[in-house]
Symmetry: D3
């Protein structure tokens, strides 16, 4: 049985959910990974108001869409990040408060507990998100951190998140952390270290997104086999390496699409990800969750792309040998 | 006429200069790039005590070694970096003080002015070093910074360093910033942006080190041609990309030599740098400064390697067409 | 005019032919390459019973399927192989007998003559199969065989098969030997040597299957041009090389799909074969026989795959320049 | 301290040892890996005659050569191989006897015990050799063997060799099996399976030879790290992959140097082995045994090559970080 | 809004336009790039006879086809080429005359002015064509020309064409020169030199055809970005590099399809052009002209191919970000 | 026995032979390939004056240099080339005359006969040179020539050169034509066609220079095997492909060393030629003539390079298996 193909609503967060849901259904999607920002899902309102929850579910149901996953990337990142202007631009006011970093981080942690409870209320089993990182500034830089500093950073992340994960466990909701540059874990070995730090907590797993592995040189299929059983969510996002002797792999300070970057995001199937290898590894490792299109392409119209991507994923998802 | 081959003394900072100088001469080096830490060159002492300066010069002269370049990587980095445990481990006490970041940065700036004056005193025309970076944490991470944040970071670096560069100019000494991950400029296009920020100040140029460009996918020869005339110093350092499907290019949290890293430093000529292309580009762009071995190899004995590297560079440096 | 696309029934030998034929027609196939095992075609019964032959033909005709090729891989291999447990598992009892190698080989030879006669009876012009090999154990191993031993092996194969080929000739049926590891000929040059050994017998030609050439590093298009006019049958089968520094090309002792192998079979169009090159070479060399899907993919549902493959081959087979 | 560079005497087995030893010393070798055939070391004579042993040692000592390793490839292979003309050409008469396979195998096993005892007598700590294989004919061929057949083959090899290894253990001599096509283990995963079959016997380890891994696509450095501590001997032998669309990787039936092969042996440093990676892996895994040149190059004069190889290995073997 | 997909009529110049137009419409094309030879468009007749012009337009209109571009490759090439047998075979008699080179070139120049006037009459805004080259014989040959000879050749081309371009300007028609081997400009840097020679004349731009860049090693996307705003027309033509160690990239003297050539033309999407990169660069550089299929494939039926190509281009041309 | 390493004197044609000979001997060369221009060897003087011949030989003998080959590239090229300014710059006045192409070609042919006679007089067995080409302008250009035009060009070259070759034959001197872009034969298949045109004349063979094959994608070792026995002379010249997405392989109009070219000449061993493959192929095909350094490198001092090249070739030329 094919996996449900979801549309992650983030790239359309500027559109009312009612409008987007109609489009998504028309494009062929089976459900949504709902951004917990914009009007797609307001956490505090959902926490306080059960009618609102039901209304959002009804809205989706009218288009025969599931609310399969909640996405909490914005707030989750603030839990362990150093707070700067980037967070100011994306956090809700009641989390940002006076902007004092320590307070922001605490309120972000509380908000994540609220997300878990809202997910339970909506009957959603998985929340995708980040963790933040006190250590990103040390990656690839100089001077190198000591092993103690690294260990300290992982311990800090674990200690800070464990109370939040307790709430997830109690709500029966799984948290699927996306392995992503800027986060405490961004490649295969750092994700391995992270899972050690969380010591096998069942409610904690990974969101797999091959676009972030591609330019780092990590084989996405190898990643899936390595973390078989711990991949709780999958983002379908593509990228291309576009080195030409001048651009650099780190992407520099240049915005998406700028030719000075050594890699770019691409609409699924238009980039360099070996999707054949990805789907085989998902089949082998018996991943049976949704495939969620996290659409980004600096060159393509987003509506054209979202529809194109849905068809691409439906073709991709072949029936495995039983 | 071949360029002088220098040994950068940093990897031997634990050895007394007297001992190292004897070795370096024996290995075939023509001079040293002196670390301004350990006992190789104490800046405050040199600033205060002209006899000390002469003694250090005499020591080198006894081995027929030039003091061609001063290296100020440790202190310079603190001028614009967020200060953390990594700096605490490498800064002298009188710069670190009570550790309050703002104060550390100010004292680091003053120390850099002292370095310029010491260089003048010693008759050294070039200082190599870093700038620090308020923006490294944003590179490749999430959320992406706005263009304003990036511009702000470059302006901050320029504003902070211009008074220091004034001293360099007045002393007749050039500052050669090393393009390096972790710094405000780490690849070709970020270095281009940096030079714009400094608006063509003559005393400001670049230290070229191909090992940092290799794994980022930037072509070292293209870099040299792009910045012809602005490369004020050259580090001879090699590296190898060692991806195997699991390791990642960012190097992760793993120490030099750890097989979980996707690239490694290598003794010159034992890695993946196209040295033939580098030397031709140096010849074409009429670089006539020294070639300074910045030796690092997690697998090789450092004395064996330093000698091997000197011979490698001497063979490499062929006579250009006149 | 497009070539007929056949389904080789071997991967479905556990299904009654009646059921498979209905499916194959539904998937879009024009005919079958019939396995001479399972209930797809029982040789002794067909030899003895003309009604049985007609029934099988009628069954296919009801689904508008041709019986274009008979496949005799199992018995043919026993004609010149050293006999071991592998053959015991696949030979019919009346060929296996008491298992004494000499006797098995003789009965296998007789059975192959029967296959030729059955093909004639059914109006089938081509039989695909193997030859066996007394020399496989020497390939790539140690100590290397002498040239005399090699020549002796080819002479032995020729001498043993010539009486069988006489029967093929007399029946007006062509024998298409599949170039395949384990057989006396497995790559381009060994196939060239084999054709020399048979000295141009018209009824003897080759079955081309690019999946076996791919991982050996032989270019399939070059193979087709080299043997233009001698390729009597084509298997459409794909594979992928999946080396990662640990797996080996020989495939080791590991079953299909095991990640310890350095290559894997793939459903057509999902692997590494340059099908564009293959179809152009088939067009250039004026091959006008069928394209027979020999389906194998350790990761894919076989029904899904068989249908997908039929569509793939239909799209592939473009109209050549006239 | 650099490792001793040995010359494996096999390619010079037609020359009297006295003559070869003089040459080897002149070329710069520190010792020999003695072939136990030709006049280099006659096992039965050495077993019976202690004076002979001393004479051979004296002969080497006159040239300041160590007798560091005994090589027993010819006889060892017969212990578990199916016996054919290839063995007839290389076994001594008293092992071959009447040529009945079962008897040959038994006498080969006894001879291997004698080799262990001779090694002890000579003070040689390591014997290099093969195991033979009842399963080679199944590799990459058709039909594939069952898992039971594979397991049976490994059990057979282990059962046959354990009594021989008991003698090695009792003599204090290690047996270093060369991972090699044609043998029961020929790549990384089959070697892993083999070590399981021997269940960690201390006296049993591996001879590493990268030339056999190269064309199979196995990364030699990965192999060394995988079997760290179990590599008891190292052969320095190079090879090159020379695919051109027609030649095949299996090497076919063609002798060394024939252009129809897809790979060729090469004098060390003249081929495709990443020796930089090999020596670093040997250093990392703290291999401190000899580096033994197993010279073979179909295009080069063997005396020129043996001298060239000695110099190559001496340069290669850099001093590791302590 | 997708760009119009045109069929360049040259490969069908042997077919009456009436017949071809019907086919083209059926295959899905939106218009034609009309060859100004065969009966597709007779320049002198069109110049003299306005009814003829209207008839041709009506013919196309009946099939809802635009006459979007006129192609003048044959005559234009003769304006600056040395004249030889190749031109004799393709020029109309009234241009060829007595064949004296100087006269031929003059009459070709006059004919090009006529083409401009006919384009205006037909309401066609773009003419595609060549320039000819007095310098091609010097490219890659020996002895090398001096810089003066090269400059002289560009000046000659500019001086000869400027009066023709004056007519184009006066008619309000743009001339789109195809960068093509054999012409004065054939790669990125020669096209840059050419644009300098024409000193920014607005009516002069380029026809982009990636098939000619591919085998020369020039990146088509880089070409498009480099000449953003100066690409006035686009040919959709594919090619494949088919080196095998013996064939050469220059293509030698061998006709299209001959296996002795190192590259071949291919039907669009069946070759090696990175069409994903091409369409993104066209979108980025805001090219909004037609995409004209210049069909050539030595292996494929041309009608099959022309239809296949139309569908390929329609799928390719995705909607850019607005 | 190693082959003699020669220096082709062309890059030093501005230096008096006496001076160059002294240098060449000092650098380690065994002999010279004498340019028949500058003062290195004046053909008309040598033809008329036997004392001059002896003086030149004596001059070389004083430095223990052989006069092994005469090089006649300048005049030979004019025999079948269209004559233009390039030839005017390099032909002697008495060949150029009034510059009328037909007359120049005739006088060039006569001069080549004189070269053959001078070679005989000097005891030199081989003359290297070109043929010229009436067909180069057609290569890779448009429109393509017909097969008749190609055949006509080869016939013309053969008919023009056969009388010259008669003189070579009568003098007992071999003519070694260099396969080179710009000439009638420039890659493997055009050289094959050329040999057909000369129909096996014994005195006609090839000069092999891998630098011209490299960028065309022809494998030098394959070339040597293909023309085994017909390679009469070898130039040691290296090159590198330096594509970067903008430069093109044809080299454009740009002088040696210009970064707009897609390939560059390199001093031997500093470029991309697989010299290991070249020397093995020379050994295999039993070429026993000289190895002549045709030095060219736009980045390197020519004296430094000539010495470096001599040492490189001496190391390269290993002793083949006997």
């Amino acid at each position: 049985m094919p996996r449900p193909v979801l549309l992650f609503t983030s790239p359309f967060a500027d559109r009312p959910l009612a409008e987007l849901a109609a489009k998504a259904a028309e494009w062929g999607y089976a459900g949504l990974e709902l951004a917990t920002w914009g009007d797609h899902l307001e956490i505090q309102r959902a926490a306080a108001d059960s009618d609102y929850c039901q209304e959002q579910l009804d809205l989706l149901a009218r288009h025969e869409l599931q609310a399969a996953v909640l996405a909490a990337f914005r707030v989750s990142s603030a839990v362990c990040d150093p707070i700067d202007e980037r967070h100011e631009a994306i956090l809700p006011d009641y989390v940002l408060g006076d902007g004092d970093p320590e307070g922001v981080r605490e309120r972000a942690a509380e908000e994540m507990m609220a997300v878990a409870r809202v997910a339970e209320k909506l009957g959603v089993g998985t929340v995708s998100g980040f963790l933040g990182s006190p250590a990103w500034t040390w990656v690839a830089g100089w001077p190198a951190p000591t092993q103690e500093m690294i260990d300290g950073a992982f311990e800090h992340v674990a200690k800070t998140w464990l109370p939040i994960l307790d709430v997830f466990r109690d709500c029966g909701v799984r948290y699927a952390f996306e392995v992503h540059p800027g986060q405490i874990a961004f490649d295969l070995y750092s994700a391995e270290r992270l899972l050690d730090a969380f010591d096998g907590r069942e409610e904690f797993g990974l969101t797999f997104d091959p676009s972030h592995l591609l330019w780092q040189g990590v084989d996405p299929a190898e990643f899936l086999h390595h973390f078989a059983g711990r991949v709780y969510h999958v983002h379908i996002k593509d990228a291309v390496v576009s080195l030409n002797g001048r651009a650099g792999l780190l992407g520099g300070y240049w915005p998406s699409g700028d030719r000075r970057r050594g890699w770019q995001y691409r609409s699924p199937g238009h980039g360099g990800v070996d999707w054949e290898g990805v789907i085989r590894a998902l089949n082998r490792t018996r991943y049976d969750g949704p495939l969620s299109v996290d659409w980004h392409d600096p060159d393509m119209d987003r509506e054209f792309g979202a529809e194109d991507a849905c068809k691409f994923v439906q073709r991709l998802d072949f029936e495995p040998r039983t």
